[in-house]
Amino acid sequence: MKPLSQRAYHVLFVTPALLLSVAIVLLPALLTFGASFSRWDGVSAPAFVGLDNFEALFADNVFWAAITNNIQWALIFLTIPMAIALVAASLLLSRRKSGAVYQVIFLLPYVLAPVANAVIWQNIILSPVSGLLGFVSKNFIPLSSPLTEPSTALYAVAGVDIWHFWGYLTVVFFAAMRQTPEEQLEAAFLEGANGWQVFWNVTLPNILPTLGLMLVLVTIFSFLTFDYIYLITQGGPARATEMLSTYAYKFAFTSFQVGKAAAVALVMSFFGLIASIVYVRMSRASLEA
């Protein structure tokens, strides 16, 4: 037998990863595309219905409520955890020894299972019976559970998710800020710049690529957000926290309208795609560097 060429070996090396990804991600994604134009319960043969699923969605108030909630979620996550993380990371920058300890603590909530975090917050913090909120409410000021109020539920769930997420951003920004050339920082301080001026004129410009990447990723994940919503409120009360992801999930696995679930999935992906195009362009620039 003739020995394989170098190139043939390399083709064989990439094949398992590519095959797995194509079988699990690409082909089912194409099926999703097909299903979005079909009526399908997941079991019997799908029937082609053209754009019916999309027309039904666009006529459904819940669909628009979900998109609005996703946009609100994106705006919350693009501002609050970003701001906290930028402040925290720049404070850690002048504490290089204790900074390492701080970042490990800040990262703890991020490495825990969403299931654990959600159940902990629901029961020991936000519950009006057994939680901290109930304790304050019974002994000091009357408070209602923010999870049962449609006007506050979204912010309450976002609060739990931010608690879990902001440490990740802090660690990433901290790592990026540490790449700032020491001479630039020293020069700024010699010229008498205060903390804010150093941040604005030296640190921030240096982490701009990382900041941009995080803004894009947070945007993408805001349109895909699922875990904390589904675990804490299932989209309720009164659809106040319904997201495209929970809306699609219920179509697929509660009412078995897989065609509609697929149509929602395509809308979600569309939002992600716009952000992904930006992301790929940014990554390609850095890959080619």
């Binding site: 090396f13 991600v25 002048s94 504490r95 159940v119 020293e186 205060n194």
Partner: protein, 277 residues
């Protein structure tokens, strides 16, 4: 480096950081505190100290959360996912870094797009295909999905390690008569070790914590993972908060220990994709 910050801003900075530490740790402290208290004491005051260090809550939580089933399934699922991901990603990373195959650019862009693809884009048909094949609930079949999700990011992390190994190393192995598989196994793989450890840790923890795929595919009493078993306690144990907090303790404590021991790899893996340096 010491800044010339004023005492006031120094104090404000410390208040901010200590406040952040308290917020990050408060829920976890409440778990530790209340895991040892009976339900009535928790309802009376979740901030009070436990009167004894009784393990009764833990015994009820272990049974209620079906942790003896869950821990086996979680280890099988996360272990298999990690092994598949490591094997497939390291091979692909080598091939893509060396750019010898036709269309390597296209494959690289495909995996780049796959890093941010929504799970919902492929979840629904995949589930019904799995159902038709009768492999819903099979940990090995589910681990293939988790591996596929973890592959792209792992490939890029490992690819960076291969790129840092000079092509001369391959060429020297070739001159010694090694074929590319031998070069990969005996030369490249050992040099990639820090990367492999980082990827293994991140993928293992990701799969251990994963919710959407796991809850969809590992249904059924005998298939549940630790997180799913614990989730089944939520609601049914509303009037036994002691057991619920003990369950959280059982679930969270090993992850915290795992993270604290390996945080160096963890942080380097998390930041290497996002920070150019």
């Amino acid at each position: 480096m010491q800044t010339s910050a004023s005492p006031l801003s120094r104090t404000l900075a410390n208040v901010f950081l200590i406040g952040a530490v308290l917020v990050a740790l408060l829920p976890l402290a409440l778990v530790a505190l209340n895991a040892f208290k009976p339900h009535t004491a928790i309802v009376a005051n979740p901030l009070s100290l436990p009167e004894s260090l009784s393990l009764d809550n833990f015994a009820r939580a272990w049974n209620g959360g079906k942790f003896s089933i869950g821990i086996v399934n979680s280890l099988l699922l996360s272990g298999t996912t990690t092994l598949i991901t490591l094997a497939f990603a390291s091979l692909a990373a080598f091939a893509l870094a060396r750019r010898k195959i036709p269309g390597w650019q296209l494959i690289t862009i495909y995996f780049l797009c796959a890093t941010t693809v929504p799970i919902q884009l492929f979840l629904f048909p995949l589930y019904f295909v799995y159902a038709k094949l009768g492999i819903v609930g099979n940990f090995a079949a589910t681990s293939l999905i988790l591996a596929a999700i973890n592959l792209p990011i792992s490939i890029f992390l490992l690819r960076a390690y291969v790129i840092s190994i000079p092509q001369d190393v391959d060429d020297a192995a070739f001159m010694d008569g090694a074929n590319p598989l031998q070069t990969f196994l005996h030369v490249i793989l050992p040099l990639m070790r820090p990367g492999l450890i980082t990827v293994a840790i991140i993928v293992f923890l990701n799969s251990w914590n994963e919710f959407l795929i796991t809850s969809t595919f590992q249904k059924g009493r005998s298939n549940i993972t630790m997180t799913l078993g614990y989730l089944s306690m939520n609601g049914t144990y509303a009037t036994d908060q002691g057991a619920l907090m003990a369950g959280a303790f059982i679930l969270v404590a090993p992850i915290i220990v795992f993270f604290l021991l390996l945080q160096r790899f963890f942080i380097s893996g998390m930041t290497s994709g996002a920070v150019k340096g």
